[in-house]
Symmetry: C2
Subunit: 207 residues, 2 copies
């Protein structure tokens, strides 16, 4: 199965600012991409990075500088199904979670992400289209209903937790095992558990 991993080369993860600087956001986004590519390829398929500009990674790269939605839709239209799209900001992803996603039956398989997003799609019909704006998971379910596509929703924390905001870094520190977590630890990002509610992240000065 062709698995695309869209990646914003230039200005990724803007909502991590000011917790991480622009350079740090780029480096951390690359670390997350590395973890996602590793999880996908350990699960079987060789992933293709769908990048907004040239990028040096250990995977096939297709450069497409259009916004995410048209860049993905052109591939859902042009390539023979099945085609999968897995977001690049899922550092909790494991090969088992990828396998369970790719093995789920249906014309379209959707994995919800925090805050209304769609973190992964498997399209087994050429009628599948994406629209990543707003509450995309709701729009994708509507699209599938309208087009009479047999739909499946994947129930996975490891696929569902994407990293957009500083509070998401807690999940990386607690549940990820790859280079994203190492990157955070190497850059002084740590857990703060003192306020009684959910754990937060903090940053300590490096030696």
């Amino acid at each position: 199965m062709e698995v695309f991993v869209p990646f914003d080369v230039r200005d990724p993860k803007r909502r991590l600012e000011p917790f991480l600087s622009a350079d740090e956001r780029r480096a951390f986004a690359r670390a997350m991409l590395t973890d996602v590519l590793a999880a996908v390829s350990e699960a079987g398929p060789e992933p293709t990075v769908l990048a907004t500009a040239t990028v040096d990674v250990d995977a096939a790269v297709e450069v497409d500088d259009r916004p995410l939605t048209p860049a993905v839709n052109v591939r859902l239209t042009d390539r023979p199904p099945p085609v999968a799209v897995v977001m690049a900001d899922l550092p909790l992803l494991t090969p088992a979670a990828v396998r369970s996603l790719l093995d789920s039956p249906g014309d379209v398989v959707l994995a919800p992400g925090l805050g209304g997003g769609t973190n992964a799609v498997v399209a087994r019909s050429p009628a599948v289209r994406v629209d990543y704006h707003g509450a995309s998971i709701r729009d994708h379910l509507r699209m599938a209903r309208k087009r009479d596509l047999q739909t499946n929703t994947v129930d996975s924390y490891r696929v569902g937790v994407d990293v957009d905001e500083p509070s998401d870094l807690v999940e990386v520190l607690l549940h990820a095992r790859g280079v994203s977590r190492d990157w955070l630890e190497d850059h002084g990002v740590c857990l703060r558990t003192d306020d009684g509610g959910r754990v937060r992240v903090d940053r300590r000065p490096l030696d």
Copy 2:
């Protein structure tokens, strides 16, 4: 299997204030409890509410006014295993997610929740203990390692998304199907998708 659902009768979901008033928090917490009890009993076991005070629900109730951790631990010690503990603030829970939790093998099965929590535990050994303070999922994994318990972690969005903060209500509106979602809609809680990032919640005046 004995399944306990701990429930704070008096002052639940404090971090939803001021988005919801104290009375609203109590009513919404009751709606979430109803959804969790329905998901558990549809999955098979008759759940028992472990409540901080008397409460009128359609399930067995054990009142224990101690804090959550000792109230749960006394049951892990006194009752013959297996014993499960499922949090009351998981309105995305489905019978399928409960079954997959209860069917997972291991001396201890843990389901992580957002922000370091532990949203469900299945204890098949009398050596299992809980401590819900701080990054409890990390502490539970350590406890299991120390006590040489065979451990399993459940990968479920429906178990992993608990409701503590207003942003979590987005998940209820998008992914839940029970009375919690109805309660939010009936009280004017709606999605706000205008800021380009994750979807947020808003409240509109009721007619």
